[in-house]
């Protein structure tokens, strides 16, 4: 119990203290404090995952029927382990990156708070607790988007806030109904709705389910509420973009997993119009996201559009509701997390050393920063889905799961669109590699200078790259674990 609480509130408190504290005279002491906080939080989360597995407790009662409770289950382990690894890597990366940004103290403060809030989301034991921290996540991550204070950042932050609040309230709207038609709001594999409500109010509850999926889907950048994502993610400092794009959006995924598999239950939604509509939305997003990314010229924006598309791969897997596809979706949560954070860190490293943001300015970048670009290339292959990287396995499961399911049309249409999107992914990620390593005959081969960034930047990058490859090379333990989860919730 204390470990769970500590892993949530320690980073929040540490972040708050950092915000309140007076500006430190030198950068060093700030970095040391922050670093200690990062490591401690990492240790706390790992300890929680190792020792507190399967436990749960109620913290206090919001109103008589609404307890705020936390617990650790298998799904929490997946999400919080991923969150921790990416947060730590991106955190240490920012020690170097933030040198050329201002207001570092504020950045680390909110970074830590968001870390704590994400842990709370992973450990939330019922829907109302989840909702509390879901709102909190929006508010505390907004300063990361607003960081540089430019007009563009403010507009993006506003957009982020509106979309997120609208989404959250769509979800809250549904929670009211679920509260009425269920025994409790606690996450139970297989759903909590009472059987009488499921037969008598099926129509209403399906609408509620759809509204809630849309609402939580805002965070996961699902069409039609995706427009905030490509605006908000690129304006943040690169390591913040990495966690925004790789982890914070996963809160939306986690929300939908919890909602569909732990609140409504598969049996209620399978074969309903909600599933069909949801499939249409996810496939639209997959295709549209890739298309938009393909047309985008600014690297970080391109990566943000790619996030839109890739998140809907996961959502597609969840929407098919077949054992294979759900496993694939959850595996893609991990694979995409590692890959996308690595990609953003690469973009950050490039911006940090060269100051260039547009893809077409980056000719010959592979000669200047070979290590960074090698990482970029490897994870790009992963995102496209070329073996032996992580993306391949997850997409394999997604496609076979979809074909195995008996949903008319979508069972084959899904894999087709996934393939087309994979081609587009190659189309928008690889040109940078090609131009970077093979700048062409007119490039000045004599005068480029080695500009590899410092170890503080490259080591986190390499760790994430290696992880994304490991997920693909030795997927069996992870898949076994996921299969276990899936067998309980399906």
């Amino acid at each position: 119990m204390y470990l769970i609480l500590l892993s949530i509130f320690f980073p929040v408190l540490a972040g708050t203290c950092l915000l309140i504290k007076k500006e430190a005279a030198d950068r060093r002491s700030l970095l040391i404090t922050t670093g200690i906080c990062f490591v401690l939080t990492g240790v706390l989360v790992s300890a929680t995952l190792l020792t507190a597995y399967g436990t749960g407790f109620t913290l206090f009662y919001l109103t008589q029927s609404l307890p705020v409770c936390f617990g650790v289950d298998a799904m929490s382990v997946i999400f919080s382990a991923m969150t921790m690894i990416i947060f730590l890597c991106a955190g240490f990366f920012s020690f170097e990156y933030m040198k050329h940004e201002t207001k570092e103290k504020r950045y680390y403060g909110y970074y830590l708070i968001v870390f704590g809030v994400l842990n709370a989301l992973c450990f939330a034991g019922n829907l109302i607790t989840f909702y509390l921290f879901f709102e909190m996540l929006t508010l505390t991550s907004m300063p990361l988007v607003l960081h540089n204070g430019s007009r563009e950042a403010i507009m993006a932050g506003l957009k982020y806030l509106f979309y997120s609040l609208c989404g959250a309230y769509a979800a809250l709207f549904g929670i009211y109904f679920i509260h009425k038609y269920s025994d409790s709001l606690s996450f139970t594999a297989g759903g909590v709705l009472t059987s009488s409500a499921m037969t008598e109010h099926a129509g209403l509850l399906l609408i509620v389910a759809f509204v809630m999926i849309l609402g939580f889907g805002v965070k996961a950048g699902m069409f039609p509420m995706h427009a905030w994502l490509p605006a908000a993610h690129p304006v943040a400092p690169a390591p913040a973009s990495a966690v925004l794009s790789a982890v914070i959006v996963k809160a939306g995924i986690l929300a939908i997993v919890r909602l569909v598999y732990y609140i409504f239950g598969v049996s209620f939604l399978q074969g309903s119009w909600v599933q069909t509509a949801w499939l249409v939305l996810t496939l639209t997003t997959v295709f549209m996201g890739s298309m938009l990314a393909y047309r985008e010229k600014i690297l970080k924006k391109r990566l943000a559009y790619s996030t839109v598309s890739q998140l809907s791969y996961i959502l597609f897997g969840l929407a098919v509701m077949d054992a294979g596809s759900v496993t694939g979706g959850l595996l893609h949560v991990l694979a995409h997390g590692f890959i996308k954070s690595a990609l953003f860190l690469c973009a950050g490293a490039i911006i940090y050393t060269t100051g260039k943001t547009r893809v077409d300015e980056l000719r010959g970048i592979g000669k200047e920063m070979p290590l960074t670009m090698w990482c970029y290339t490897i994870v790009s292959l992963g995102l496209i889905g070329i073996p032996p990287t992580g993306g391949f396995v997850s997409k394999w499961y997604l496609a076979t799961g979809s074909l195995h399911s008996s949903i008319p049309v979508f069972s084959w249409l899904g894999p087709v669109i996934l393939l087309v999107s994979a081609l587009l992914t190659a189309g928008y990620l690889l040109p940078l590699t090609i131009q970077g390593f093979f700048p062409g005959a007119d490039y000045d081969y004599e005068h480029f200078k080695k500009r590899e960034p410092s170890r503080l930047m490259t080591i986190p990058l390499v760790i994430l790259t290696v992880l994304s490859v490991l997920v693909g090379l030795f997927p069996t333990p992870v898949i076994d674990y996921l299969t276990q989860i899936v067998s309980t919730i399906l």
Binding site: Y61, Y131, E135, L139, L146, L158, L172, F177
Partner: protein, 497 residues
């Protein structure tokens, strides 16, 4: 402990006498009298609250020698005592928080008048809360109107005089309707004491006589009170009155004066007409619809507004709409949610008004959004407080606004016919709230390159900063430990019946 039964009457008298004494002293002394008075009444109300909680029942205090059904009575239960306590705290905070503006905006030889009016206002609020007979209620409604007008007009600029006249006209129309309804009820029942009226009305309804006059009387009283507390579409007087008067007045008008009338309406519903009889009339449907419309149109007007004070004033229209939506549901849950929202809105709205004044002060006194850019950096305390208030208004968890929305929604799902419209409008209104409040928060936190306006620190405004901290604490208490408060409200409403 039975002497505590004297406290309600004693506090009303104390306020009246303090008003009289203040009219003969200088501004500074009047302020001290006022502060001492408010503290005393707070303590007295707290004692009454604990007394009623410990005995678990309400008590009636007979004024003068005439027993019921002729005499004049005061009645105190958990809800009345709690409300009185809450009103005193909010009034104290609003006055202290707006004190520096008051000194700046009001002519020095008129400041004592401000405190005279405040004391009278408090006496009328307490009377509205505690009274057990309709005639006393009417008398104090008038006192309330007059003192509120004075509070608006005391800052003598053109707009406040206009606002006061508008307020006067609308308010008198409201009291007129209330009086008409009251006369009709007196005709029907032959009583003015609430408990006797209720018995007679129950008898009349049981016999099935005078159905139409009864409904007309109820409708007149309801509409009269609705005009006075600015339910949509009777809200036209509100933005000017709240927007241009001195800030303490605005805070008190929005969080106390209108709430006093709403509380009187609750008393009428429970103690005069009877909850079930009131709910069987179609009036609650009308209230429900007006409440819903208010929630949307109030917010829409606030979005269009370019003046931060008027924006907050319009948001009051929306919040009053929430309260009437709760009435309109016609259930106990709806009523509990409404009463909680009275508390939550009173705490939040006065906080916002007081916080805004800190922001406008560091923007050259301008209330236009463009001038307010970056003001939260110039006055950090006000900036944080305004953000807390905004989050509470939008309904973010941990603040009081979230709990009221939760209670409204829980009440709504119990009523089949009204569930969908209530929840949908609740959703829309929340999003509209988010639009204009978050827009303002972003605006005040947008850094500006160079500014000619000075920054202020804690040293320049100790009292103001402390008041802000108290406001935040109050808001968070309402947001986190809502369960005991809701229990108390339920207990109080049960005592009404």
């Amino acid at each position: 402990m039975d002497f505590i039964r004297n406290f309600p009457c004693f506090s009303i008298m104390l306020c009246l006498f303090a008003g009289i004494i203040s009219s003969g002293v200088k501004g500074r002394t009047a302020r001290w009298i006022n502060i001492v008075l408010l503290t005393t009444v707070t303590i007295l109300s707290a004692c009454t609250l604990f007394y009623t909680l410990s005995t678990g029942e309400s008590f009636v205090y007979v004024m003068g020698k005439f027993p019921a059904p002729w005499g004049n009575e005061i009645r105190a239960g958990v809800l009345e005592a709690g409300m009185a306590l809450f009103f005193c705290i909010i009034m104290l905070l609003s006055l202290l928080g707006g004190q520096h503006k008051l000194i700046a905006e009001v002519e020095e030889n008129k400041i004592f008048l401000y405190y005279v009016l405040t004391n009278l206002l408090l006496s009328s609020l307490l009377a509205l809360v505690y009274t057990n007979d309709m005639f006393t209620a009417y008398v104090f409604v008038e006192i309330n109107t007059i003192s509120a007008c004075g509070l608006i007009m005391i800052r003598q600029v053109g707009r406040t005089i206009e606002a006061a006249v508008r307020y006067m006209i609308m308010s008198l129309l409201g009291s007129g309707l209330l009086l008409l309804g009251l006369c009709m009820l007196y005709d029907l029942t032959g009583h003015l004491l609430m408990s006797n009226m209720k018995e007679s009305i129950a008898a009349i309804v049981a016999q099935g006589e005078y159905t139409i006059p009864l409904i007309v009387a109820i409708a007149l009283m309801t509409v009269g009170l609705c005009i006075k507390c600015a339910l949509f579409p009777f809200h036209a007087w509100l933005p000017d009155a709240y927007g241009y008067s001195t800030v303490s007045s605005a805070a008190m008008l929005s969080s106390l004066v209108s709430k006093g009338y709403i509380f009187l309406l609750i008393k009428i519903i429970y103690r005069v007409v009877g909850f079930d009889i009131f709910n069987n009339t179609r009036i609650i449907d009308v209230l429900f619809v007006f409440g819903l419309m208010g929630m949307i149109f109030g917010s829409l007007s606030a979005i269009k507004e370019n003046d931060i004070r008027r924006m907050i004033a319009f948001s009051s229209v929306a919040q009053i709409g929430y309260i009437y939506m709760g009435f309109g549901m016609g259930t106990q849950y709806g009523m509990v949610a409404s009463v909680f929202h009275i508390l939550s809105h009173a705490a939040t709205k006065s906080l916002l008004f007081i916080a805004v004044i800190g922001l406008t002060d560091v923007s050259g006194g301008s209330r236009k959004f463009i001038e307010l850019t970056g003001s939260a950096y110039r006055n950090k305390w006000a900036g944080v407080t305004f953000t807390v208030g905004s989050l509470s208004m939008v309904g973010v968890p941990l603040f009081s606004g979230f709990i009221s929305k939760l209670l409204f929604a829980q009440a709504a799902v119990q009523v089949d016919g009204k569930m969908l419209p209530a929840l949908i409008v609740l959703g829309i209104s929340t999003i509209l709230n988010a639009i204009y409040f978050m827009k303002t928060v972003i605006r005040i936190y947008t850094p500006v390159e160079e500014t000619s306006y000075p920054s202020v620190t804690f040293k320049d405004m100790k009292l103001y900063a402390i008041v802000l901290v108290f406001f935040i604490i109050l808001n968070i208490i309402l947001g986190i430990s809502s369960q005991p408060i809701v229990d108390m409200i339920e207990q109080g409403l049960a005592m009404f019946a």
